[in-house]
Structure formats: C-alpha cells, structure tokens
Symmetry: C2
Subunit: 451 residues, 2 copies
C-alpha cells in the first residue's frame, strides 16, 4: 500500500497483496460452499430500466456507450446499458428470468466486482468486489433462514484475517411496530432521524423528531430509549417490554429478532448482537436488518450488510422473498493491506526452483519439475544456466523456499539434492518422493500481531 | 443452453452450468500456480489514451460515462474511461507502473472478464472471460520461455473436459526472413494474403500475391510452398531448407521454432505442431506465434492464442519483452455446455441434507451439520420439519446424495442414520466420523461420451 492507484478509486494489488485477497476470496467461497450455497455470476451490465426498477438510483452509475457505434438516438434510455452497482438487483433479475430452472428455496453465493462512480475515499472505491449470499423462496421463505444467514456470515468472517467484528441486527417490524405503538406513523421519517444518532447525539435527534415529525417530548424520549437498547443476548426483549409499548407488529418483530439473537448467542457468542439503533436499511428491508463493524475500526463503516425482503423479486403475482448479506471484500482487503493485518509468506506460488547445472539440462530439469508438480508441488525451472549464486538469488528474491540441484555422475546417473535457502540445509532428495513441509507447500496468509 | 441469454452476447449460466465453468477456471488456476505463475488482476477500465497506445483500436470498445455527472466537456478524450477489451494492454500498463515492485522475469496469470461491443455470434460474446499467462522480462527474456509457455498451455488444456486440440506454432522471423529471401519485402502484405488461404484457397492467394504485391509466379509459388508446411516434429526444418531460400532471419526463426517443436514433440507428442500457414498475429508479434484449435471444432476459431513481443511494454528506453498466451474461457465453456461435452454431477455443493424430525430440533441439526462441515463435508439443514418425504424430495431435486436423520430416544440420547437416496441404503452414522465416498464429497465435473 506504499503505492497509490494510478486511477483514483480503482485499486490494484501487487502479487503478494493479491495473495491476501485470494485468501479472503477462497475462504469465503469455501465457507459458503460448505453451507450449500451455489455459485452464480451475472453479467456486469444491466439495462438502465432494470437498475431503475426499484425507483430512483441513488448510486452513481456508470453508463456504457460503444465508442465506434453510430449514435442510435432512437433506442429508449431504459434499454441502454450500465455497469451494475451491487449484486442484489442483478440477482433479482436472474431469479425472475430463470425461475423455471431453479430449485426454491434457492441458496446462492455471488462474488463479483461492482462499480460506483462515487468520490473515492477511505474504504470506498469506484470498482470493488462484493461477496453476497442470499436465500430466495418462491412465494414464502421460512424465517429460519434469517437466523442461518447470520450464523454463516459469522463463520465466514471468523475465518478471515481481520479484527474482531460485531454483526448488529435489528428488525423493521420491531421498529415500525414500536413507533406506531407510541403514535409515530411516519416510520421512514423517524428512521432518518434515528440514523443520525451516532453523528449528532441524542439531544439533537430528540429535537429533530419534534421539529420535523411533530413528535411530543415523550414520544421522542421513547424512540430514543428504544434506540439505546443493545444486548449480546435476548435480554433486549425484556428491555423493550419495559418501555410499556403494545403493538402486534412490535411483538412479531421481537419474536423474530429473539430467534436470531438467541441462536447466535448460543453458537457464536458475542459476535451477533441486537442493536435497536440500527436504522439504515430498515426503510427498504421488511424484517431483519444486519450490519457489521470491525471492532476498533468502526469508522470504516459496515463491512457486511443485508436483510430480509418480502419481495426480493416479483414476476407478475408471483413473489420471491429473500434474505441475504453482502460482504465488502475490497473494503476489508484495503484495510488488511493498509494496516498490514495479514501478510503472505511469499510472492509466488512456487515452492521449488529447479536449477540448471548447464544449459543442456533444461529438459531434464523439466522432468524433475513435472515429478514435483504431479504431487501438487509448485515448481519452476531456471531459464538459463547462470552461476548457482544467481539462480539462488532468483529464488530468494521471490521467497521461493527450496532450490533443487541435479548433477550427472561420470556414469551418466543423476544425483539430486534440495536446499532450503533459509536454513542453508542441503540434502539428497528423490524427485518422485520428496515433499516440502506442509507450511511451505503453498504461500501462507497469516494474521500479523497487529490485529 | 436451452435458455437464451436475456441480453444478446452476455451469457449467464445456471448453477449446474456454473459448476462446469468453475471447474474450468479452477483447473486453469491450479495448473498455472503449479508452474509458478502469480495471480494478478487489473481494473476493468483503462483510459482511452492507454487503449490507443498501440495505435488504432480495431476492437469495438465500450466507453464509460457517469449517468449523474454534469458533463465535463473540458476533459480530454484520452483521459476518459473505457472497459478493457483484452488483458494484454492492461498487463503492459501494470508492468510499467509497478516495475519497481516486481521481480523480473515476472510470471503472471490473469483470469478476468473483458468486453467487446461486437456483433454476438457463435463463439463470440460481448462479455467473456480470458485466462492469460505471460512471462515478461526487464530488458531481455530468454527464448526458453517461448518453449515453456507452449508446454504449460498444453498441460492446462489437456486437463480440461474439452476435445483434443492442436497448438499451431509459427515464427515471425522465419516468415519474414523467408519472404525477404525470395525478394518479397512487404511482410505485412504477404501475411494478409496468406491469412486468406483457408478461406479462398491457394490459387486465389497466388493471384493476390501477384496482383496486389507484384510478386512473380515463382515468388507466389514459394510463399505458398512455405505455407503448406505443417509437421508434428522438427522435420519442418528440412522441408523449409529444401525450398532453397537463404536468409539470416529465416535461420534465426527456424532455430527458434525448432526449439519449441522439438521439446513439445518429446513432452506432449502431437499437441504442438509447426504450422507455417499461420499468418494472423505475425504482423504484431515479433517471434513465436501460437494459435489453438479444437479438433473437430475448427470452425469455432482459435481457443488460445498468443506470441512473443520484443517490447510488450516500454518505459522510456527500458523495454519489457514478453511472451504469453490467452485462453478464451467463455468460448470453451459455451462449447462444452452447448454440446454437453461435460456435466456436473449435481446442482449444489451440498453433500448432506440434515433433516428435521420436529421443528424444535433445528439447533441440534445444526450441530450435526457443523460436525460434518468441520471435516469438509458440505451440509444444509432443512428449514422446516415437513414430512420426511418432502425433505427427501428437497434433496432429490438438487441432486444432494445423502440425507441425515436424527431421532431422540426415550432416555434423551440421539440416534443418527444416513441414507443414500440413490440406492435407498440407510445406515447408522456418527456425525463426528462419517464421511461420504470421495466421489460424492464435491460435485464432480466429468466429460461425457460426446468428446
């Protein structure tokens, strides 16, 4: 991260940094697949009509035009193409288009780049990778998936070389029911005010609620009391009840959130918390809402967000409810690299450099490398029979741990030795049997002490 | 492939098809890493100035504009952004920008989507994935890499569920030297004519050479004789020499091509052939040129092409020669899926569905699934305690091979059984010890009889 991206907002990694990113991507993929999520990818482009389906686009979208095309002013704007700005809108389209071919409930993961033309800043790029998991049902979707997804994400994040995290969960029904119960019916308005809590503080929010939404001081106080509740277990239920508000929707929301927090407290204690101050997202999700912060890195913003939609997608009268979460992979990787939270043990996949005693032995050296590769050992052959010192330096510069030497005896027989260039130890070795220690087989990505 | 892409030229796969694509991508990655190639990715966009660096863009490029941006007519066109149309131009820029951080010769692989606004047709999409490997040197790059890359690609393609292939190799020095030796100095012009050989036949090409390039009948005949040479071993050298042309550059080219074909004939017999009719690419590469066809699918065009550049990139006086190849992954996957050359053994990663005897046992069932996952077995838990028949049907529809049953004894102890739903066999099992047969652990992608 000494380097600056040559194009602001479009980060690129050096090979050793890329190994850290690959480790993150592979870990997420593995966790998702262990939980039965299927991989899909959607095209990078959507029609503008599709992107507008959910109303105004509040994201900065990149439109596409063919440089060499004769302008076709007749094509309606909504048929023009633009780069997708998230993976949810494309997934919803994919579900509708392929509904006849998918088995519902359909569990999918999707790891792809998305683009937003926003002003680049800390933790915010114009091109970045998201890793999404969603479960989508046909007509109905059991609430249990809301519980399961929090667990899967907690497991996925726990497997990454990142600081401790908290998945903060709230529920739209709980919030809306509570506000309704105290007589505030402009849920969206209340959420907008509550969302400012961390920035402007409770006094200012109380003022906003009264001035902008006509709340009484008692209503404002109650709304703030609700937003003040944050528990690692299901004790939030009693705390909400103690506020004395009665509403059917509130009860439904409490029961749902209790299921999520209860199961998570048992299985991944401390990772998933009820946080009734969470307001962002509650205006478009219809039930559970998740967001996630890294402990000690709260300023970075949410690194994983999502929630439940009653209708993630719809096809005529047919509704597809869904619940899902999206991990901001690039945001995480930028933080890991920027603060050296984890590093790769070497620059290259290569575990062994097969050296050349003379220029004619290249083909023989390839035979050795082929033997090693057949057992999963990454091997390169030197391109030229330079002095051994130079060949060893080639390995050393790249962090390749082992170099291989083959010498031909007077009788034409070959003798093999392998040297660990860190310890200097050199031993006889058989290309058909030798293997490096497990930790040297592949580049290892490990957390540094800085986490 | 019963389905048509909803946006022409932008293919998307169903989950079971995506498993085939993933298998191709994973196989390529594994092969490249076993040979010591480092992964990098570059941003999807380049400035138009960058894309134009090599002269006119003959590809249909997608330019980008921000939908909500006030137009900034002051920005020079060359600073505007466009989607990359290959991975070579971005890699050249990456090498120049990061030269101070890379160890040369630098071996990298890069698997990413690229975009071209061309008219979609068989084997040609607007968004498609390329898998590139290149080795780039600082100042110089031993010729041996030209040999090695042919071998790596042959190994990578051999590992894919595709029909047999031929990597056809030619050499710019050989061709240019030969034409010069017979008195034809407009190499580009001759190559343009020779390139039409397959389409219009030798008589027509002889005519073109005489009419458009002023060749004598003898010169045209010699050029066609060269183009007629195609050998699986190094016998092409003698065949060229028999044509009696003498030229220094021709000799250099013969020696280079002999190295490639000689080593390949020994290591991967029949896969890499000298084909002196190859003309495409010879006008911009400076030495070796590769292209690859699938046997019986020649109409699909080249599925893997590349060559040697004396200066893949340059930074002032500093030159970075390179040699590389690019596999058309999407073209291959479209063919595999379109002709069902390979299939995935199931739709989902899940190997075991853990069923529910009653709704309260969900958490216990998660414990079982967690045990299985800890040993790398993908497992899902049923979301509802429906009738067992329904739960088994859930597994059956997705091709999940095993379902797990847990029953609680009168004394509270748990009894576990696992059923193979294909054979119907049901046996007692311990969640901490049971594993499925290796072939059921992950979805298997296997070639069908159609290859």
């Amino acid at each position: 991260m000494a380097r600056k991206a040559s194009l602001s907002g479009f980060p690129e990694w050096l090979p050793q940094e890329r190994l850290v990113e690959l480790h993150v991507l592979d870990t997420l993929r593995r966790t998702f697949e262990l939980h039965g999520f299927s991989s899909i990818e959607t095209r990078a482009v959507e029609t503008i009509g599709q992107l507008l389906r959910k109303g105004e686009i509040d994201k900065e979208v990149y439109g596409l035009h063919r440089l060499q095309a004769e302008e076709d002013p007749g094509a309606p704007d909504q048929d023009k193409l633009a780069l997708h700005f998230d993976l949810t809108v494309p997934f919803a389209r994919y579900v509708v288009e392929n509904a006849g071919y998918l088995a519902f409930p359909f569990r999918r993961y999707q790891i792809q780049k998305v683009w937003r033309g926003e002003r680049p800043q800390e933790g915010r790029a114009r091109e970045f990778t998201q890793a999404d998991i969603d479960v989508v049902g046909d007509g109905e979707l059991p609430f249990r998936y809301d519980v399961e997804l929090a667990l899967v994400i907690a497991e996925a994040l726990s497997a990454l070389p990142i600081p401790d995290f908290r998945i903060r969960v709230n529920n739209r029904k709980l919030a809306e029911g509570f506000y309704r119960g105290i007589g505030l019916t402009d849920t969206a308005g209340v959420l907008r005010s509550i969302d400012k809590l961390e920035k402007v503080g409770p006094d200012k929010v109380a003022e906003l609620l009264q001035e902008e939404l006509g709340a009484t001081p008692e209503q404002a106080k109650a709304a703030l009391q609700l937003a003040g509740i944050r528990t690692e277990d299901t004790s939030f239920v009693a705390q909400v009840r103690a506020l004395g508000v009665e509403d059917e929707l509130l009860e439904a929301g409490l029961a749902e959130l209790e299921q999520v927090i209860g199961e998570a407290a048992r299985r991944v204690p401390g990772k998933v918390i009820a946080d009734l101050s969470i307001a962002r997202g509650l205006d478009y999700y219809t039930g559970t809402v998740y967001e996630t912060v890294l402990v000690g890195h709260e300023h970075l913003g949410s690194i994983c967000s999502g929630g439940r939609y009653d209708a993630l997608a719809a096809k005529g009268n047919r509704k597809f409810p869904g619940v899902g979460l999206s991990i901001g992979v690039t945001r995480l990787v930028m933080r890991i690299l920027g603060q050296e939270l984890a590093t790769a043990s070497r620059q290259v996949p290569t575990a062994v450099l097969v050296t050349l005693a003379n220029d004619e032995s290249w083909s023989e050296a390839q035979d050795v490398a082929t033997e090693l590769r057949s057992r999963g050992i990454s091997a390169e052959v030197a391109a030229k029979a330079e002095k051994f010192g130079k060949q060893i330096k080639y390995a050393d510069r790249r962090g390749i741990p082992f170099v291989w030497f083959t010498t031909e005896g007077a009788d034409g027989s070959l003798a093999h030795e392998v040297k660990d260039i860190r310890s200097g130890e050199q031993v006889p070795a058989d290309p058909r049997a030798w293997t490096p220690p497990a930790e040297d087989l592949l580049p290892q990505v490990t957390a540094t002490g800085r986490i």
